[in-house]
Structure formats: C-alpha cells, structure tokens
Symmetry: C2
Subunit: 240 residues, 2 copies
C-alpha cells in the first residue's frame, strides 16, 4: 500500500501540479502503476528503436539517452534526473527515440502506456498533465538549445551547470553542491563540445573561483556570475 501511494506521489511530482488528482483517478492510477524498478550503473532501461510500451518516472539516480544518428555517430540527447519523465518523445512513433541507460543506481516507476490509453477516458486530468509535461519540455528544450547554438564553450558549460542546479533546487536538493555521475565526454556530447574543451572550461572556472570541481563533485561558488556568463552572448551580438 505504502509502495503504491509512493508511486502516486512520484507521478504527481513528475506531472507537477500542486493540487492532487480526483480520488477516482488516483484509485485507477494505483491499478495501472507498476511497482518501482531498480537499475544499476550501466543497466539499459530501453534500447533505441525498441517498441514503446511504457513511460518511466525517475525517482532517484541519473540516466542518459543516446541516439544513434549515422551508424558512425551517436549523440547524447538527454539527461534524466529525479522527477523527470522518460519516453515522452516516443509516444507518437511507437519506438524509443534512443537508448536510455543508468549512469548510477536508479529507481523508476513504470507507467504502461497501453493501460493508460485503455483508461484514457477515465483519466482526463492525468492526460492533461501529461500533455502539459510534454508541452513544457518542448518549450524549454527549444529555447535552451537555440540559446546554446550561438554560445561559446564557456557559456554552454555555464548554462549546463545552471540547468542542473535549478533542477536540483526544484527537487529540494542543494543548488550549489552536487555530484554528477556523467563523464566529461558525456557532457561534451550533450553540449556539442569535446571532452577537452569541457575540462578546460571547468579548470578556467576554478581559476576564477566560480566553481570547485574534484572529479565528479561540483560546488558552484558564485551563481550570479555564472548566470552572467551563461547569458553573455559571447559571440553573436547584433549592434543596431
């Protein structure tokens, strides 16, 4: 029982709205939710191209999504942190858009999609929340990535750190100190940079007392200045 309502809390978090769902939807959801799932480091949650059958809500841990493009190239297209919903980009195509694997031990709730579809008419509020969740992802990623496109490595890394920081803060963790289980290479692939450049940028930040990094432990020392760096055009400013 405790387990199931935990799951419910998890969904409410993910499909975030402060007020809860109507009782009838909560009860029905209890019926649909699959008990939590546990992945160890390097375990694969789903493979690119595999048939889409469930959404997953991240409860703890960190995962990455890798999409093979070109038979020779694969991109890191997403990181998933606690509170994120995995699989929103697979709903229409019916296949997972990339291979999702755990960067560290992780626990997830599974929401089988066919059962959600079956009961769609009895879960109007939940569906609306799901719709909102996808809409928000679309808006935020579109903006973030377009912003990154015109930025220097310095600004891209700052954007990345601040995004992570904001995410942790929303979940109730410290926005200034955290551990990130991904490698420099992962971060580079996600940001469109090389691992060397990512590492060098961290070093430059450290020299400026903006950041303290030791291995994969990060301490943001000056959020205000990082924000200024993140939104500094670096290149690309028009002069009207």
């Amino acid at each position: 029982m405790a387990e199931v309502s935990d799951c419910l809390a998890c969904y409410l978090n993910v499909l975030s709205k402060p007020e809860g769902l109507p009782d009838e939807e909560r009860l029905l959801l209890d019926d649909i939710v699959v008990p939590p799932l546990r992945l160890e480091k390097r375990d694969v949650l789903c493979s690119q191209g595999a048939s889409f059958d469930a959404l997953y809500a991240v409860r703890t841990g960190c995962l990455k999504q890798e999409t093979a493009i070109d038979s020779a190239e694969t991109l890191l297209t997403a990181f998933w942190l606690p509170g994120d919903l995995i699989g929103c980009d697979a709903i229409d195509s019916g296949r997972y858009a990339g291979t999702v694997s755990a960067l560290e031990t992780a626990t997830l709730c599974q929401l089988p999609f066919d059962r959600l579809e079956t009961f769609r008419h009895r879960l109007p509020r939940l569906c609306r929340r799901l719709q909102n969740c996808i809409s928000r992802s679309l808006r935020e990623e579109r903006l973030n990535l377009h912003q990154l496109l015109g930025r220097t490595a310095e600004a891209r890394v700052a954007c990345f750190l601040l995004a992570i920081s904001a995410c942790f803060q929303r979940r109730g963790y410290s926005p200034r100190s955290f551990r990130l289980p991904m490698s420099r290479s992962d971060i580079g692939s996600y940001l469109g940079l090389t691992q060397e450049t990512v590492g060098r940028t961290f070093m430059a930040y450290q020299a400026q007392r903006l950041l303290a990094v030791r291995g994969r432990e990060y301490h943001l020392l000056d959020l205000a200045r990082l924000e200024r760096l993140a939104s500094s055009p670096g290149r690309r400013q028009k002069r009207p």
Copy 2:
C-alpha cells in the same frame, strides 16, 4: 460548408494520420473551428507572453517565432510552414512562448483551446493526435538541435535546407525548388550563425554546383551530396 470541411482537412493534415476522424468528432470539430485567418507580411499572430488562447494550423505561407531572452537578445526559435501547428509550446504555461509573425502573406486556421478543453471528453481521437503531434516535435527538434550543436556552419546550413526540402516534399511541393521568405539574418539566428557566414556558405555551395540561389529562390542541385554534407560530423568525431 466548403470552408468548414476545408478546415477539417487542414487539421487532419496537421495532426497527420491518413485515416479520418470518426464522424461524431468531425461534426463537433466543425463547431469548434474558427474560419480561416489571413495575415499579411510582418503582421503579428501573437506576442510573447500574451495569454494563450488558441492553436493555429498553418494553411499557406510562412511564419517565424522570436523569443526574447535577455532584454538585449532575441532568438529565432522556430519557422512555421504549411501544415505546421503553432502554439504547442504554450499549452502548459498559458502564455505564448514567443512572438509569431508572418514572413509573407499567410492563412491559418484557429482552434480555440478552451473550447477544445470543454469538449475534450468527446474528442478522444483528436486529443490523441494532438499529443502525438507534440511528442513528434519534441523528438525531432531535440535530435536536430543536438545534431546542429556539434556541426560546422557548412553542415548546419545543409541540415536546414534539407529539413525545409523534406517539409515541402511531405506537403506535396517540390523538394528541390522553393522560395524562402526569410532573410539570411533570420536563418543565421535560427542556426546560431551570423548572416555573413550563412551567405558565404550559400556562395560556397553554388561554387560546388550543389545549389543555385538567387535572392530568396533556392534550387537544390544535388540532394545526395547535401545529405552527405549535413551528416558529416565536420568536427566531433570520436576515434575509439
């Protein structure tokens, strides 16, 4: 009557699935759809931050979405072509994510969102199509933009031309010859490049007989080679 079913056809195109909606949904939709809207060049469809009240399906013409970031910087975050659905990124926030304006004369169908919500329970198929549409956008943009992040100007421009080409082809127009009403500067802002670099890249393509450009008329002369360019990592290849 013709007008209304035209609108319906428009939606079916936008929320694309070959088979039609059930009759009951078609009839209800006729009731919801607002007769087509016409915009002239430079007319504004909606302003960033304005209250979100409708989705718009592009019937003809071309529009752009500009998002102000920083009080000093505004990014071109989307182009909208015939068949596209405008406003998917505003559903959850209740505010339009950017200012959308016409780059040339355009006609659109308006779908008031509150009425869609009111009849949500009687439009299950339509809602599902909307959900699919947003999911697809999320996946495609995520992939495209992450791809662009690591690419040279040469490859970015090729990606852009091919995306446009594919879009026109899907709508039944020529994939090799088209007019694009946006300026070099618009394209640059969208791709994270300067107008000079965009123009120079076009010139370089012309010198290689890949492309013929005159003003805003484009003729793709060698799709295969363009595709190779678009997916050539340019930089960023790992050697394992």
